[in-house]
């Protein structure tokens, strides 16, 4: 079971990132909990400057851009 966090204030990019991540998890058959982190204090607890950011099991895998489904699937598989 993975924990996937999506950091961002709820703008278009974060919603896009969430849909990409969900599709990737579904496609790779990985069980994951999705948590949206929207409050800026919680977001800044992570070492990022720009949102949207993707955090998998408390590790920032990408920030400031939207990854492809294939990339996310790889990150989800890496720590398994």
């Amino acid at each position: 079971m993975k924990t996937v966090k999506i950091l961002g204030s709820g703008c278009a990019n974060c919603r896009k990132l969430e849909s990409v991540a969900r599709a990737a998890a579904l496609g790779a058959g990985v069980q994951a909990d999705f948590i949206k982190v929207t409050h800026h204090n919680d977001i800044l607890a992570y070492d990022i400057v720009a949102t949207p950011a993707l955090v998998i099991d408390e590790k920032v895998v990408c920030s400031g851009r939207i990854p492809t489904q294939a990339e996310v699937a790889q990150w989800l598989g890496a720590g398994a």
């Binding site: 204030s9 400031g64 492809t68």
Partner: protein, 452 residues
């Protein structure tokens, strides 16, 4: 109903006139530029100059540059402000960034220039830059003890190095060329090189029909829709539909519709640069200098874009499309409402409140800016309406400075990041500086007019 009809007609007419005339040559390239800046300029390339160990003469201009290059709407500005402040940037540069970004970014400047004139855009840029740095320095001095406490925070965040690729720089400059070729009002671009006469007999009748649907009063600052404008509106609608299919999943790779959308966008831009004049039984189509310049600039964009990596290219397209989706609907709604409001507001009211460049006029303009919240960019058509209704350019600039910075909504968010005491001090300074900016610009305009 009798009361509503002219209102709706005013709104629809304003919308049609804006879509046809202004939007294309300015906003279409500007959306692509904004997208390219967000996607292709790595953020550490600029934010590394914001660390507190950087000398002031570098960190403040860098903060302003960050404002104009990295952020376009308040959705990006406030989170970035919170981010750079928390990560250890001084309060001063963070405030400069916050003040400059809504007015100094490329979308706002291009749009201001095309609707209110290049002079206004230049005044807005210069005064926002000066006062943004001024307010940042003042805030840093007033709250220096608080700021020093902030000092133990890490500087490491800003040490990251990043390079901007040559292809990305080329794309940015070529896009800027597209914007300038489409909007600059100089004789060289307006001159006609070759005129073709097409035997299209319906053109004149169509123009008469358009005038009937969208009646306008030039004296009142209203604009009608031309034959060319009506075709452009049709092209824009088509482009919107195609872009939806081609851009929505661009991060996963381009599809057939992506290419259709891009070709259509370029064709629409190019068509808008032709001069099209209907006459009796024929249609005169002229190739102007603008057509050639726009064509060269578009070709340059394509040439440089081929050097971009697929992921960079795709995220550029996605960011541009995201800006369109986010800003364009609000802009359309705003322009429609402004068109309706224009039917109701009497020029006398505006003239008596802010018709001349005095303290009262400028203060009222700033107050109006604070209490009325308009979405990103909508302040520009609103300002145009005021200008047409007789507002003095001085108070108008004061309004343009205050409105994007000081809505009640953004005050609440800023206060959440830096506390109410600092937020209120900031608001006070912005109000004071905006009023001063209006007085200065108004005085300059008056002096210029009297020497003419």
């Amino acid at each position: 109903m009798n009361f509503m009809l002219p209102l709706l007609q005013g709104g629809a007419g304003n919308l049609a006139a804006y879509l046809a005339a202004h939007v294309l040559l300015c906003l279409l390239p500007a959306f692509f530029i904004a997208g390219a800046m967000t996607a292709l300029i790595p953020k550490p390339a600029i934010t590394r100059w914001l660390g507190r160990k950087t000398p002031r003469h570098i960190s403040y201009p860098a903060a302003a540059a960050a404002g104009s290059l990295l952020a376009v709407c308040s959705c990006t500005i406030v989170p970035l402000f919170a981010g750079i402040h928390r990560k250890g940037a001084g309060l001063g540069p963070a405030i400069t960034f916050l003040f400059f970004a809504p007015a100094g970014n490329v979308l706002a400047l291009a749009y201001t220039g095309s609707i209110l004139g290049a002079e206004f855009a230049l005044a807005r840029l210069t005064l926002c830059l000066l006062f943004g740095i001024g307010i940042g320095l003042l805030m840093a001095v007033i709250f220096r003890s608080d700021d020093a406490r902030h000092d133990h925070e890490t500087d490491g965040m800003f040490a990251a190095e990043a390079e901007i690729g040559t292809a990305a720089v080329g794309v940015l400059f070529a896009l800027l060329g597209v914007l300038l070729a489409g909007t600059l009002q100089i004789a060289l671009l307006k001159e006609s090189v070759l005129t073709l006469t097409l035997p299209i007999s319906g053109a004149q009748a169509w123009q008469t029909q358009l005038l009937q649907w969208v009646p306008f009063d030039a004296a009142n600052g209203e604009e009608g829709v031309s034959v060319q404008g009506s075709i452009l509106i049709a092209l824009l609608l088509l482009l919107g539909a195609v872009a939806w299919k081609g851009m929505e999943n661009i991060t996963e790779g381009a599809n057939r519709w992506t290419w259709v959308a891009l070709v259509l966008a370029a064709a629409t831009l190019l068509f808008a640069t032709f001069s099209v004049v209907p006459a009796d039984g024929r249609l005169d189509v002229s190739i102007t200098g603008r057509v050639l310049a726009e064509g060269v600039a578009l070709a340059a964009v394509v040439w440089f874009a081929r050097g971009l990596a697929a992921s960079a290219w795709q995220s550029w397209m996605w960011e541009s499309w995201r800006f369109v989706k986010q800003i364009f609907p609000l802009l359309l709604a705003g322009v429609f409402v402004v068109g309706m409001a224009r039917q109701v507001i009497e020029p006398v009211w505006i003239e008596s409140l802010a018709g001349s460049n005095d303290l009262k006029g400028n203060a009222i303009a700033v107050l109006f800016g604070v209490f009325m919240y308009f979405p990103t960019l909508v302040e520009v058509p609103v300002a145009r309406m005021f200008l047409d209704l007789g507002m003095h350019p001085g108070p108008l600039l004061a309004y343009l400075m205050a409105d994007p910075e000081l809505s009640l909504q953004s005050m609440v968010i800023i206060a959440a990041v830096i506390g109410w005491r600092k937020a209120m001090t900031y608001v006070g300074w912005v109000a004071l500086f905006s009023t001063t900016a209006g007085l200065l610009y108004g005085g300059w305009v008056d002096a210029f007019r009297s020497t003419m």
